[in-house]
Symmetry: C2
């Protein structure tokens, strides 16, 4: 009982800080996405490729969230995009406060699109608003097709779903239609992109969608 | 501060219940493994294949942990092994109490090996003792090779590490030596098996290890 009360307090405080973040993003005309997935679904490779394809239109920056290491921030830095690494030191998700603090170390000058890569975890991050405009869930063809019903919350709170690693479809037992059906059952409003961050297949429609949503926002 | 105190209380209570579970397992001569991995690393397929290869020597039972659905328990039931499904209803890990309650619904008659499939999550389950004798972490070749340093705790608390999906090595950019080095840096005492639950490759040494550890235990 105590635990539930404390948890509610934590979530309420988080929501307040997320609202502050969102007001700040809106004031600066920055469109913000919160990217969620299992560990190893390909979020960082997707971000590397996306930033290269965007080619500054819109100008993107990245917040990297990891339990440990700055490996991912280094990979993003190599693309030339501004990036800041949050190391959660064991915590299983990002919170609005961590993002707020991290923004102090990020060069947001001229940035129109902020991509937040959450900790690889299909459960906990779904409960924490960071102040983003939309959540994007990334699944991959090497996971089971029933993930949307086994981990429903993250699919329910997301607006966009990327099915990544489609280059591996010939080598795995993954039924794309079954996955899409499960995902639509969980959230009929999901918008889908099928991608391979590794080969680049399917990335153009995703990048077009980013361009349609990010620029000129106020 | 409140939050940390409550969390400690929860962990202490969990440790007490885990000790009760372990005493019960020891009394009954049951060897217990807690299987941990990202969503989609292949835990359930591995269990299906392992149970078929064990062929009753030792006699195995399974506790399935999932956020939602009984899909995995149905798959295990098809092997003929006793199985019980724990649905956590949103919670990101199993706890000792959930396992204790679930045992009431499991036919443990003659069971010598209990395999607990935790919720697919590389972070939170690592902090909760269920009363098992050993933790087994399952990584897969479709995840990044640096997972052991990005999610160190689960590799640190495990005794055994399975690298699964080795059938996909020709199709992914995964450096096995890099992975093993990262894992050994995190935990020098880890014992490794390289497997493909899908093709059966590499499963015999793992099954032999189970036979060496599970039977005749008291």
């Amino acid at each position: 009982m105590d635990f539930i009360t404390v948890e509610r307090k934590v979530l309420r405080k988080n929501d307040e800080l997320a609202a502050e973040n969102r007001a700040r993003f809106n004031g600066a005309g920055v469109y913000v996405l919160n990217l969620l997935s299992s560990p190893g679904a390909g979020k960082t490779t997707l971000l590397e490729q996306t930033i290269r394809l965007l080619d500054g239109r819109p100008r993107a920056a990245v917040v990297e969230g990891d339990v440990q290491t700055d490996h991912d921030a280094r990979r993003i830095a190599a693309t030339g995009a501004p990036v800041v690494q949050i190391v959660t030191n064991g915590a299983c998700h990002l919170e609005a406060k961590l993002v707020q603090d991290a923004l102090g170390s990020l060069d947001m000058d001229g940035v129109e699109l902020l991509l937040i890569e959450n900790v690889g975890n299909l459960v906990c991050p779904a409960s924490f608003d960071l102040g983003e405009h939309k959540k994007v869930v990334i699944a991959s063809t090497t996971e089971g097709a029933d993930k949307p019903v086994k981990y429903p919350k993250v699919f329910r709170v997301s607006d966009v779903c990327l099915l990544n690693k489609i280059d591996l479809l010939p080598h795995v037992d993954f039924d794309v239609d079954e996955f899409l059906n499960y995902a639509r059952t969980t959230n009929p409003d999901l918008r889908f992109f099928q991608t391979s961050a590794r080969t680049g297949e399917g990335l153009e429609p995703w990048v077009d969608w980013l361009r349609d949503n990010a620029p000129g926002r106020s």
